[in-house]
C-alpha cells in the first residue's frame, strides 16, 4: 500500500538534508530536488487509479479522524500533486545549469520546501495543518523572490512579505474564530456541523479566509505584489510561482467555499470577481514593455479565468477550472523557462530586445510560440481544450447573464492574443542590429522545455484521457456529503 504521507515526508526530509549533502560534495546538492520530485511524480501517478475508486484517508497519530490530523488524498489532491511534482521535476532539471551564482544550496533547499508546502496544502484535511503548509509555501517563496539579492528582487520580496504575512494573519484569525465555534479543526467535521450555526457567525471567518487566501491567489484587489515578485525572481522561480504557488491559493479558496462552508450564494460573487481579475490582468499585460512583467500580469488574468470557471459550480465548470489549472501551469511554466534563457542571452527584459531571437535561438523561440498560442487558446494546444471546456460550462448554465460573462471571457482572450502575437512577431520578423549567431540554450534547459511542449501538444490533441480524472475531481468539490462521509466514515 502506497502511503500519501510519503509525498510530504520524503521531500521535506530531503530538503533539510541538502546542507548535509553539501558538506560531502557541492556537486550532488543540486540533484536532490530532481530526485525528490521524481519520487513524488511516480508516487502520485501510482496513487491516481487508487483514488479514482475511493479517496485515501490517512490518520496521523492513531486517533480516529475528528481527533487527529488527517490527510485526505482525494482526486483533487492527487491530481494537483501530480501537477506540482511534474512542474517541480521539470523546473529542477532546468535549475541545474540556470542557477550558478549565490548560495545555491539555499536555493535548492527553499525550492524543495516550496513544493513540499504546496503538496501539503492540497493533501491535508485539517484546517490548521493547511495553514502551516501554506506558511511553508509562503515563507520559502518570499525568500526565493529575494534570492538574487538585486535591487528589484529585494524590493519585490519586501512587498510580497508584508502583504503575504498580513494575509496569513487573517487566515489564522479565521481559524481561531472557527475553532471557537466548532471546537474542531477537521475540515470534514466543520463541514458537517456548519449548518447548525447561524450564518451571521460564520460570515466573519469566511470573509477573513477568502481575503487571506486571496492574497496568495492574487485575486483582483489583492494582486499588487504579483507583477513585482514574478518579474524580479529568477525565471525558474517565476515558473514555479506562476505555475504552482498562486494555484494553491485558488485551491484553498475553492476547498473552503465548496467543501467547508458550502455557501452557494457566493458563487455569483466568485464569478464576478474572477471576471474582473481576468479583465484587469489582461488589460495591464497589454501595455507592458517588460516581457516578464507581461507574463506576470497574464498570470493574474488566467487566475481570474480559473476562479470564474470554479464559480460556475457545475460539474463541467469545476472540471474546466481544474483543467485550466493544469493548462496554465504547463503553458506559463514553458513561457517563463523559455524567456529565462532569452533574457540571459540578451541581458535585457525589454520586449523590443527580443528581436531576431527566431534565428538566434530557434528551438527556444518555437517553444515560446507554442506556449503563447496555448495560453491564447489556439486549437491543437492544451489551452484550447481547457478554455473550450470553461466556455461550454458557462453556456450550459443557460441564463442570459452567463452568456454575457462568457462573451467577456472571449473578449479577454482577444486582448491576450493581441499582446502575445506582438511578442511572437518581434521574435521572428523584426530585424535585429546584433550579429545573428546561433546560441541555443544548454541541454538541461532544452530537455524540460521539450517535455513541456510535447505535453501541451499531446494533451491538447487528445484531452479525453484526462476527462475521467477531471470529472471525478469536479464531483469531489461539489459533493460535500460524500467528502464528509469519506473522511468521518
Amino acid at each position: 500500500m502506497v502511503n500519501p504521507v510519503l509525498l510530504i515526508a520524503v521531500p521535506l526530509g530531503l530538503a533539510f538534508s541538502i546542507p548535509l549533502f553539501g558538506f560531502i560534495s557541492r556537486r550532488i546538492e543540486k540533484y536532490i530536488p530532481v530526485a525528490g520530485m521524481l519520487f513524488n511524480l511516480v508516487l502520485s501517478i501510482i496513487l491516481v487509479p487508487k483514488v479514482l475508486q475511493s479517496p485515501i484517508v490517512i490518520s496521523i497519530g492513531g486517533f480516529r479522524p475528528p481527533f487527529c490530523i488527517n490527510l485526505v488524498a482525494g482526486t483533487v489532491g492527487v491530481f494537483l500533486s501530480v501537477v506540482i511534482a511534474a512542474m517541480g521535476f521539470l523546473v529542477s532539471i532546468y535549475s541545474l545549469s540556470y542557477i550558478k551564482e549565490g548560495a545555491t544550496e539555499k536555493y535548492h533547499m527553499l525550492f524543495l520546501l516550496l513544493l513540499t508546502g504546496a503538496t501539503g496544502v492540497v493533501l491535508t484535511g485539517d484546517i490548521f495543518n493547511l495553514f502551516v503548509f501554506y506558511e511553508i509555501l509562503c515563507i520559502s517563496s518570499y525568500a526565493l523572490v529575494a534570492y538574487p539579492g538585486s535591487r528589484e528582487g529585494i524590493e519585490a520580496g519586501v512587498k510580497y512579505l508584508i502583504q503575504g504575512a498580513l494575509g496569513s494573519s487573517l487566515v489564522l484569525i479565521a481559524i481561531a474564530l472557527i475553532y471557537g465555534q466548532f471546537g474542531t479543526l477537521n475540515m470534514a467535521d466543520i463541514a458537517r456541523n456548519i449548518s447548525s450555526i447561524h450564518s451571521m457567525n460564520i460570515f466573519l471567518p469566511f470573509v477573513l479566509l477568502i481575503g487571506g487566501l486571496g492574497i496568495e491567489a492574487a485575486i483582483f484587489p489583492l494582486n499588487a505584489w504579483l507583477p513585482d515578485a514574478h518579474s524580479s525572481a529568477p525565471s525558474s522561480i517565476s515558473a514555479i510561482l506562476s505555475g504552482i504557488a498562486i494555484k494553491i491559493g485558488v485551491y484553498a479558496i475553492a476547498r473552503m467555499v465548496f467543501t467547508v462552508f458550502g455557501i452557494s450564494d457566493t458563487f455569483l460573487f466568485l464569478v464576478t470577481l474572477g471576471l474582473i481579475t481576468l479583465l484587469v490582468g489582461e488589460l495591464s499585460a497589454f501595455k507592458q514593455q517588460n516581457i516578464k512583467r507581461m507574463l506576470a500580469y497574464s498570470s493574474i488574468g488566467q487566475i481570474g479565468l480559473i476562479v470564474f470557471a470554479l464559480g460556475i459550480a457545475t460539474p463541467g465548470g469545476v472540471a474546466g477550472g481544474l483543467f485550466q489549472i493544469l493548462s496554465h501551469a504547463l503553458s506559463k511554466g514553458l513561457l517563463f523557462l523559455a524567456v529565462g534563457y532569452m533574457i540571459y542571452r540578451t541581458g535585457s527584459m525589454e520586449i523590443s530586445s527580443l528581436a531576431g531571437m527566431g534565428k538566434r535561438m530557434p528551438f527556444t523561440s518555437l517553444a515560446f510560440t507554442v506556449g503563447a498560442f496555448s495560453l491564447v487558446g489556439l486549437p491543437p494546444f492544451i489551452g484550447f481544450s481547457s478554455k473550450f471546456m470553461v466556455i461550454k460550462a458557462a453556456m450550459a448554465k443557460g441564463s442570459a447573464i452567463f452568456v454575457v460573462l462568457a462573451a467577456l471571457v472571449l473578449f479577454a482572450a482577444i486582448i491576450e492574443g493581441a499582446y502575445f502575437f506582438r511578442v511572437v512577431q518581434i521574435i521572428y520578423f523584426k530585424k535585429s542590429d546584433n550579429a545573428l549567431k546561433r546560441e541555443e540554450a544548454p541541454p538541461t534547459a532544452i530537455i524540460p522545455i521539450a517535455i513541456l511542449v510535447t505535453l501541451i501538444i499531446v494533451i491538447g490533441i487528445y484531452p479525453n484521457f484526462l476527462i475521467g480524472l477531471l470529472n471525478s475531481a469536479g464531483s469531489e468539490f461539489l459533493n460535500r456529503v460524500q467528502y464528509i462521509r469519506g473522511v468521518l466514515g
Binding site: R151, V158, L161, S169, I173, Y179, S232
Partner: protein, 119 residues
C-alpha cells in the same frame, strides 16, 4: 460593565490586531511596519489562547487529586499558538534580514521613497 469584564480578552486581542493593521497600513518606515506585523501576530496568538481559556482553569493534566475535567483549559489552542509563534518568528527574521538588504540598496527605509518598481 459585566460585558467588559466577560469579554476583556477579546477586546484586548482585537485591539492589538487593529493596532497592528493600522501600523502596517499607515506607517512608511519599514521597521515600523515590521513592528506592526509583530503586534498583529501577538494579537492573533492572544485570540487563540483566549478562545481555549476558562476562568480559573488549570492545565489538562491529572497531576493531583481533586482536579476535575471541566475545570481544565483546552490544550489544542495552546499547541496551535506554539506553532503560530514559531511561524511568526520565521517571518519576522526574514523580514528584518530583507530590511537590512533593502537599506544597503536604497540607503533608506522609507517605503514611500523606494519606487524602483513601477506600478
Amino acid at each position: 460593565m459585566t460585558f467588559l469584564v466577560d469579554h476583556i480578552y477579546y477586546i484586548g486581542c482585537f485591539g492589538l490586531i487593529l493596532i497592528g493593521m493600522y501600523i502596517i497600513l499607515a506607517k512608511s518606515n519599514l521597521i515600523k511596519v515590521i513592528i506592526g506585523l509583530s503586534i498583529l501576530d501577538t494579537g492573533v496568538n492572544l485570540l487563540l489562547i483566549a478562545i481555549g481559556y476558562i476562568n480559573g482553569g488549570t492545565a489538562p493534566i491529572f497531576s493531583r487529586p481533586g482536579i476535575e475535567a471541566n475545570g481544565m483549559v483546552d490544550p489544542v489552542p495552546q499547541a496551535l499558538v506554539l506553532t503560530a509563534i514559531v511561524i511568526g518568528v520565521a517571518v519576522l527574521a526574514l523580514a528584518l534580514s530583507l530590511a537590512i538588504r533593502l537599506y544597503r540598496h536604497y540607503g533608506t527605509l522609507n517605503l514611500r521613497k523606494i519606487k524602483g518598481q513601477k506600478w
